[in-house]
Symmetry: C2
Subunit: 202 residues, 2 copies
């Protein structure tokens, strides 16, 4: 593994090996069984005691965060690259699709992520902030191009991407694609002629 998902400071060789094995098995288990899968099974598959797992990752969120580190960096980098794409709308849509696709690879992850925003101390909190910040630049560029309405913030787009990823876990791939497309189109400015067509109502 690269330096991205290694812990803060030097580690004893056996500890480091356990850390890596736990991370690798967690990735498999989360992908196959969802983010609520048994931690004891992860420890078992990694060949260590459950106490060792807790020693390295005090909470499920900490383990998820460590597992996501690399891919989040990658998504942030992709956002950076897409800023150079000729079409601000396409760039935004592509990043949203890539992000939603990644999230929906782990059942329950969208829920873990979006709910982490309720607590600053949740290890996933910063991860969400990074992704939101990365999306913000693409969103603002699309807004400047007249493709995004004023009241839509980067947090809204992040929530929509999560919602699409959540839906994608439950429906067919085709419908999942369609739903994300609808959501992104929903960020466009509402054209005057279709606004409140008949009656505003109370």
């Amino acid at each position: 593994m690269t330096a991205a998902n290694t812990p803060h400071r030097p580690m004893r060789a056996d500890a480091r090996r356990n850390y890596e094995r736990l991370l690798a098995e967690a990735e498999v288990a989360f992908r196959e069984q969802g983010t609520e899968t048994s931690l004891e099974e992860i420890a078992r598959r990694a060949g260590v005691s459950i106490g060792t797992l807790y020693g390295h990752f005090p909470t499920r969120q900490a383990l998820l965060e460590a597992m996501l580190h690399e891919s989040i960096d990658r998504l942030v980098a992709i956002a950076e690259e897409l800023l150079a794409h000729p079409s601000p709308g396409e760039a935004l849509a592509r990043w949203a699709r890539a992000t939603a696709a990644h999230m929906s690879a782990y059942r329950g992850l969208a829920t873990s992520l979006l709910s982490s925003l309720k607590d600053e101390n949740n290890p996933l909190y910063r991860a969400c902030q990074q992704m939101t910040a990365a999306g913000q630049r693409l969103l603002d560029r699309a807004r400047t191009a007249g493709l995004v309405r004023a009241e839509a913030g980067a947090d809204d787009m992040f929530a929509l991407i999560n919602a699409a990823a959540w839906a994608r876990e439950q429906v067919s791939a085709e419908q999942g694609d369609r739903l994300l497309a609808f959501m992104l189109d929903g960020l466009r400015p509402v054209p005057a002629e279709t606004r409140r067509p008949v009656d505003p109502g109370p």
Copy 2:
């Protein structure tokens, strides 16, 4: 309780009392703790054995279905009434808001509902179908008024309502409202002048 949530055929008086108490406690527990709350706690609160709970409701979904029966009937009736609303767009939006609000009252319900569509034998499957059918009439009416694009089906709208309800569980009420509004606006036809503004891309 009314006849709506009583079981199929005559029941012994004590059985009926247990059934009703379980349903009442389930409603409270699901509302306070979410749809993954402990069934044993529901039985405890209802003052019956866990075996009695399983005797009446063989699965968690069966208990949820029984609990939702009345409110789903109500939402179907509301859809009916809204067909007479002068604005097809407003009617659709109001039904969607009412439905999302109801669903988000029980944490985890949106997931239980949308995922039930993967299995015809899930007791919630029919409940989802009823709601989708109710929404379909409002959706088609809005489509006739030019407010909904051709490729958006009633199942898409149902999924979006669920996604909004799911998001509402995790974010603020204001943001939840906004997200649902974005999603519904995403069902509108895309005006020609904002379609693919610069470059379609590969």
